[in-house]
């Protein structure tokens, strides 16, 4: 068995199954839409306030996707729209947000996942 291939597909899929199985849709800069993707979504994270040392909650959503599932390659600076549930308890209501163009996605060729950062988005 190709362990690397297994981790990049089935292994990640299995690790995402425990409560982080969030449906999302992508709209690529080419205009194409991809629906039915499954992602691991982290809605916030804890951090230390550098000024006070207090623990604070950063409302920063991170969406991790399996690269092998994507129809198109996502690169830093792409104008990419992501539809995902803002409330994981209500996964059928999707909200569309843009990928943060000022922040590069995190991805690694060896593991095969990509993490993107959606940004609060308003009607133009």
């Amino acid at each position: 068995m190709d362990l690397r291939k297994h981790i990049a597909t089935d292994g990640i899929r299995l690790s995402m199954g425990s409560g982080f199985n969030i449906p999302i849709n992508l709209k690529y800069p080419s205009g194409e839409t991809q629906t039915g993707l499954i992602a691991q979504v982290l809605y916030d994270r804890f951090a230390e306030d550098p000024e006070t040392g207090d623990e604070i909650v950063i409302k920063e959503t991170r969406i991790s996707l399996i690269k092998a599932d994507l129809d198109e390659v996502i690169t830093a600076g792409d104008k990419l729209a992501i539809s995902y549930p803002l409330d994981p308890a209500n996964p059928t209501v999707l909200t569309t947000e843009m990928m943060d163009t000022d922040r590069a996605p995190i991805d690694g060729a060896s593991i095969g996942f990509i993490t993107i950062f959606p940004f609060t988005t308003e009607q133009i």
Partner: protein, 240 residues
């Protein structure tokens, strides 16, 4: 009231500057007039932008205890904060009837939050500049004074100026704060000016005038001499 308890000119000016800026704020921006601790991005989300303005520092370069009047060089700190979200035609993106071409067009026309926040701070700076350096506001909301030192209320009458050398200096944008899903951009600037402070001194809080020693002799009445034994009476004799 002792003069130590009355406002100095810089305090009057502080109140005047706050009122002046607030009178132009309306829905354009929010005004915070105290030094705040760090605030959350959500706090600036609805109104988008705010300015903090407060008396930061001051000095008396020609002030000595032998002079009754001295120039107060004042610095107000102005902190600008703007937050922004990304902008896109969400209607086009969410419409199931949209074609790939429609979506491509909508995405291509989208604006990043950094662009919006930068423009927002630039607009805010323009507004503050136009308010503070408008010749009509050269006294920063303070009145001119007549020969007797009384405030002139008639705008057509000129008098002695209370505020001089009004300048906006050192505008600088800070690095964007990359936290969360809202883009936060801050900037700072100083408003400097001069006023004349008058030293009137302070009256010490005392019961008696200094230099006079008062001796109090307390004599308690015994109940036998007292007309009303239920009360406690004291005879006080004071001599200089």
């Amino acid at each position: 009231m002792s003069t130590i308890d009355t406002q100095m000119k810089f305090e009057e000016l502080r109140d005047s500057v706050e009122s002046l800026v607030k009178s132009f704020a309306s829905t354009r921006f929010r005004v915070v007039t105290e030094q705040k601790e760090s605030s959350g991005a959500e706090e600036h989300k609805d109104l988008k932008r705010s300015i903090q303005i407060f008396y930061e520092s001051g000095s008396f370069p020609d002030g000595t205890s032998s002079k009754r009047e001295s120039t107060h060089e004042i610095t107000f700190q102005i902190e600008y904060t703007a937050t922004a979200a990304a902008k896109v035609d969400l209607n086009a993106l969410n419409d199931p009837e949209s074609t790939a071409s429609d979506i491509l067009t909508a995405l291509a026309a989208s604006q990043g939050a950094g662009f919006t926040a930068n423009r927002s701070i630039d607009e805010l700076r323009r507004m503050i500049y136009q308010i503070i350096l408008d010749p009509v506001n050269s006294q920063l909301g303070m009145s001119e004074l007549d020969k007797n030192g009384a405030e002139i209320t008639d705008p057509l009458v000129c008098g002695a100026k209370q505020v001089s050398q009004v300048r906006l200096v050192n505008f600088r944008k800070n690095a964007p704060i990359a936290r969360g899903k809202i883009f936060v951009l801050t900037a700072s600037e100083q408003l400097t000016c001069q006023v004349t402070e008058i030293t009137e001194g302070a009256t010490p809080i005392a019961v008696a005038q200094p230099g006079i020693e008062l001796n109090h002799e307390f004599n308690t009445k015994s109940d036998a001499d007292d007309a009303d034994p239920a009360t406690f009476e004291i005879d006080v004799t004071t001599t200089e």
